[in-house]
């Protein structure tokens, strides 16, 4: 397998007037091409911080990040769609900012939208869309710049349970089909196990890696199907204990 991202002993300290917060103490991981990795951990432990550093929104305090000439796409916790732009224009935003808005790339984005069930909504505005559809638009907006690695920060936490299940399947299929790699932060253990092939459990803040669970499911396929495999509840139990029950 081909390693495309490596993080060694990442550290991040925030400074504010009141105090100094060590958000990430020591975090290392590596990501291979096409691999899906989930990061789970208690809230406030520094998960979003790790993604922000990877995407260049925050400076790291210490440690090394090796990125092999790969483009990173960051999907935020909220869909952050601009309600004054059409669905298509929302999805073209990244290209427009980068000054790479060519006819060809526009066609690519339109094709993506059509392929993933948004063809009828190219010229609609975001407030006409359901939560799940908005999330799909946000994903395609991220995909528009053809990233190799996707970072997702609790991407479905705003949705109801039913939509979460469907959209996990959608996203999984889209990412597998477009041959992307994924690092996903979530507090939903079931989501982590059903989508990813590796689950990293973080400790309380300042976060370090507590345990890494490689996930092997017999007859694994899409996230919804994965939830029905015999190993699923066992992993769930193990990870749940790892996060919650520590004195």
């Amino acid at each position: 397998m081909n390693e495309i991202l490596k993080i060694n002993h990442l550290k991040k300290t925030y400074h504010t007037l009141e105090k100094e917060t060590v958000a990430v103490k020591d975090f290392s991981m590596s990501l291979e091409e096409g691999e899906f990795i989930a990061i789970v951990g208690p809230s406030g432990c520094g998960k979003s911080t790790i993604l922000s550093i990877l995407s260049g929104l925050e400076e790291k305090t210490d440690g090394d990040i090796f990125l092999r000439d790969k483009q990173i796409g960051y999907m935020l916790q909220t869909d952050a769609l601009f309600d004054w732009l059409t669905i298509l224009d929302n999805c073209l935003l990244g290209l427009k900012i980068k000054g790479e808005l060519t006819e060809e790339k526009k066609e690519y984005v339109i094709a993506l939208l059509k392929k993933y069930g948004l063809g009828d909504f190219l010229n609609s505005y975001p407030n006409h869309l359901s939560g799940g559809m908005r999330q799909r638009v946000a994903l395609i907006r991220t995909l528009s710049i053809k990233p190799d690695i996707l970072l997702m920060d609790e991407p479905f936490s705003a949705l109801d349970y039913q939509s979460r299940l469907t959209i996990s399947d959608d996203v999984y299929n889209i990412l597998k089909e477009e041959k992307k790699s994924l690092i996903m932060v979530t507090h939903d253990i079931a989501e982590a196990i059903s989508i990813c092939s590796k689950v990293i459990v973080l400790s309380e803040r300042p976060c370090t890696i507590k345990k890494v669970f490689p996930i092997h499911l017999t007859n694994g396929s899409t996230p919804i199907e994965n939830r029905k495999t015999p190993e699923f509840p066992i992993y769930y139990d193990q990870i749940w204990k790892e996060i919650d029950y520590e004195p």
Partner: protein
Amino acid sequence: MSREQKNYLKKRKRKKLLIVSLQIFLLLFLLGLWQIAANQEWINTFIFSSPNRVIKTILNLHQDGTLYHHIWVTFYETILSFLIGTLLGILIATILWWFDVLAKVLDPYFTVLNSLPKVALGPIILIWFGANIRSIIFMAVLISIVVTILNIYQGFQNVDPQKIKLMKSFRAKKWQICMYLVFPSNFQTIMATLKLNISMCLIGVIMGEFLVSKEGIGYLIMYGSQVFNLNLVISGIALLSIMATFLYLLIQCLEKFFVKKN
């Protein structure tokens, strides 16, 4: 369309018609009452005038041709100061958003300037700029611009941080964040400020005309009060009410135009 829907629409229409007719009726009633009170000498028409006299005064102004000149002068001054105040205000708000240190430095000055009654500066303005249109424009701009800057700057600051994060994740430059996010997401704020601004400018212009006392509706009112011609004063006020309404409608049309364009 179902019958229920039709009935509902009809009902709504009838209600709206009722409200408008009551509004007109109220106006006519008050005017009529005023006229009757004047005819019956319940009120002293020398001080309180009457609708009849107001109409006559305006007709006189129309006949000697000065009416349109005064209206035009006030209108022109208001629009000019509105344009200057709005554009300059948006520009300054943008600069403050861009350089947040500057915004922090200037913050106490804006607070003072905002609470200072600008009329107090009238005499100085008159001395600095002279008794001419420049004083009037300066006065009106001064009154409208501080509120413009504060309102719009606050709107700029309230932009959703997640959306800014999104822009940054695409490596957007500051001017791109400004053009693609900050301006469009503040369309409502800007429109609300424009509506406020146009009436502020009219206030400023009338105050300026009081001071400068050369031409315009403010001058008519001032002059009328000096020669104790209350007919003229009240005619001036009537003209002002009409102009204020007209200007408000103008901004509303502007808003509709922009909404449609988007």
